[in-house]
Symmetry: C2
Subunit: 187 residues, 2 copies
Amino acid sequence: MKKISEKILYKGKWLSLKKNLFINMRKQKVLWESIQRNRNCLAFGIIARLKPSGRYILIKQFRQAINNYVIGLPAGTCDVGSASPKALRKSILKELKEETGYSGKIKSISPVLKLNPALIDHDFLVVRVEVDEKSPENTELCQCLEPAEEIETMLVEGKKLEKLLLEQGKKGVAISSGMWFLACNLI
Amino acid sequence: MKKISEKILYKGKWLSLKKNLFINMRKQKVLWESIQRNRNCLAFGIIARLKPSGRYILIKQFRQAINNYVIGLPAGTCDVGSASPKALRKSILKELKEETGYSGKIKSISPVLKLNPALIDHDFLVVRVEVDEKSPENTELCQCLEPAEEIETMLVEGKKLEKLLLEQGKKGVAISSGMWFLACNLI
């Protein structure tokens, strides 16, 4: 598959709609619409594990695109231009603290992944963070939310994740596909 | 958070860009751009496990939105209007066969999940399928691809998934975030 051309069909404030033209191996034309973020940013999702209980931090967050609350991971974005490895790590821990109140330490960062590559070219990292729940900074938690954010924190053991997702789903809360994949066990 | 209004900014052939206005709990206005598919469809990802080897079927597929190949699950969409449970099951098994050549049996279907709910309101199912690799229909495999599709099938044991993703990433192949979450082990 070879890209021949691309064109912005409409540029919004944050998102643009693009039309891309390709030629496939059989020399047929393939037209594909896709989305582009106007700001070149890297997104990250945080798998934060409390120590010593072993519970994970989930969030129930209002998502404007679906007009509902959804169970997902604490997550954020970071400008690519300013993203030195140090600035990125700082931004990840800041986001976790703002969304959930918890302070933690980064244990690992995944390679760069693609979030929803059928639709958009958006880089995404999965970051593992360890949170010491006995630490003084984690005993009185205080969120710091932006106007677009309404977020509630939930704690769950890994083996009870699927049960929690099913219960929340029955209450009408949406479940992100990423959370479901996390709960899937590949034996 | 309460939705006040929504407006289509631009309607493409398959995708539309929307502007949504909300009022938050503190009575502040929140503007949010989102994407809508013009066709009301349900997407599905297939976790197909071969029996008796226990390996899983992955695909390496060209994705126009990122202009690269990506490791992901066999996946497809089904029109919501025509999706009786029976038609949906048929469409899932047909998609698996077209993309990978394998015939299988559905073992379970997840509740309705949301794919990328920061950006789009798109329903998604995770379907578990069992494939009898000794069955005559699975010994000579034949894909049946559409013009926009270039797909290669890969088989992997669950416990070797992370290693395969890292190897493919080093070769320049993209990794979808869903695949990475599947490889994450929540202890």
